[in-house]
């Protein structure tokens, strides 16, 4: 299954954009397709529904490729996701012809409660094993390769037994799934928890990176940095992207913007900035022995 994903990954290598309803019409109204490698879609926004948005997505699908990225699989929860939810998700991933599906290495449900937020997991071997088992089961169910994303986290729940890098590596090793490495999340965590972001990334098995995410963040008055996806990507994060791509080589990179979404031309200008950082990483990658 991962062999297929590698072929798709090569096809989609480049910079894509998280599809948001705020600029959906602007994209559809353009005479020529915009220059994006792909659009990333949150399937929960389109599952089990009709109306304008699924129809618009179908029209977009005539000109663009989609990659699905979910929000509520709650990979680290004790209970598995409900069967009917997985059925709907499978249908949506197939409908969008996504080459893989990803979700977050986090807790977003507790029993039958759905928290609609990405909460941190207890970093220990038992959780890593549960996440790996869950990922393999979901991958079998969805019929496409799975990848998981490292989250921004602001506090650790309980006694931490593994470092985050070791935890991620363990889940990768035991699940056989891919990594969606969010460069901005690493940067945010490095500020909040006081570590070197580049060193953190160097500890990860970068040959398992299926996709990269990049976004902006916000610093609160008390100094806590929150991953808002509501601002431009700052230079240190772009540099981190470049150095990461230098190691990974060509991969799909996604610019996420969920809040304070600017007009489409501004977003496309930012996409070009991200593309330059990505290209610089690729150029350096080619020069590596």
């Amino acid at each position: 299954m991962l062999v297929d994903a590698v072929a798709e990954q090569n096809q989609l290598a480049g910079v894509g954009l998280g599809l948001r309803w705020e600029f959906l019409d602007d994209v559809l109204d353009r005479d020529q397709p915009i220059d994006v490698a792909f659009f990333e879609v949150s399937p929960e926004n389109y599952m089990r529904r009709g109306g304008y948005y699924p129809e618009a997505l179908e029209r977009l699908g005539e000109s663009y490729r989609f990659v699905t990225h979910g929000l509520t699989l709650s990979l680290g929860a004790v209970d598995p996701p409900a069967a009917d939810y997985l059925d709907e998700l499978q249908r949506e991933v197939r409908r969008l012809n996504s080459p893989w599906h990803s979700d977050h290495l986090c807790l977003s449900t507790a029993g039958s409660l759905v928290l609609h937020e990405l909460l941190p997991l207890k970093l220990c071997e038992a959780t890593a094993q549960r996440c790996a088992d869950r990922l393999r089961a979901i991958q079998d169910r969805l019929g496409v390769p799975m990848a998981f994303e490292n989250i921004s986290w602001y506090a650790h729940p309980g006694a931490q037994e593994l470092s985050e890098a070791d935890f991620i590596s363990l889940v990768l090793e035991r699940s056989g799934c891919g990594l969606l490495l969010d460069v901005n999340n690493v940067y945010v965590n490095s500020l909040n928890h006081g570590f070197d972001a580049a060193h953190f990334i160097a500890q990860l098995p970068l040959d398992r990176v299926m996709q990269l995410h990049i976004a902006g963040h916000f610093t609160r008055d008390d100094g806590l940095v929150i991953d808002t996806h509501g601002a431009r990507v700052i230079d240190p994060v772009l540099k981190l992207l470049t150095s990461t791509v230098e190691s990974t080589g060509p991969v799909p990179v996604l610019l996420e913007r969920d809040n304070n979404i600017p007009p489409l031309p501004d977003l496309l200008a930012e996409l070009n900035v991200v593309r330059r950082a990505y290209d610089a990483g690729l150029a350096a990658s080619r020069g590596r022995p």
């Binding site: 304008y52 129809e55 759905v114 729940p157 309980g158």
Partner: protein
Amino acid sequence: MRSLEDAIADLTLGPLLDADDKLAVDTWLSRHGVEKHDAEQLRNGGLKRLMVYRRLVRANLRSAVQVAIPRVVARMGALFDEYFDRFLAERGPRTHYLRDVTTEFLDFCTGHWETDPRVPAYMMSLARHESVVIELNAMPVRSTEFVTPELTLDNPVRFIEATRLMKHDFAVHELSESDSDRTAPAERPVALFGYRSPEHTTRFLELTPMAAELLRRLLAGSPLGNALNDAAKALDIPLTQPVIDGSARVLADLAERGALLGTELRTEQGTTNAAR
């Protein structure tokens, strides 16, 4: 591990826990059976940092409801937050779809608001009227297979999926769309037919009593002839030619609006008379 998960859910959705109140924290840890070494970390500062998730979770859920029922949130003010807090603590969101959290919230409030003298009697009607817009916008598309446009008395009628027949005791549909308006709606029974137009706009039609009784039966799957007879009987009016003509006009109007597809050619039991 479940104990930690339950504790986090309670921390984010439940009553506010004072992280500086040692007794309250100990009670919270022990109520959820959090293991000793995890409890130790939480006591030693971990809990305070974890509280940031309480704000994130609640802000996200509240904004989803605010988008769906802005006028209700504005009119209720602090009372809305009181009930929203109760909803989070006593039931909590169960849906994977953020758009459905409002319906869960209103289902929770039904029964509570009716008996709370602080909540105006029309508020639930207004809330349902506001929230149905998102519900209708998102309803799945129904297949047009096994439908013929001509209506026949012996067969059920097929509507698009995105329809809703609503009865209110207040004319909430006549209120201004402005969040700052505090006018109370007129108290009178109204029946509204809501549907999603082919242009993806939610529209409402106020129905006569006969049209409401007829559509209620048709939406439940009654054959057209039975629905007409039963609707007239329910209202204790004779099924005269003008009543039949009026009903025909209502159905023709709905067909023209794209809300009524035609005669159902297949039921759960098999094909209908019209398909044979």
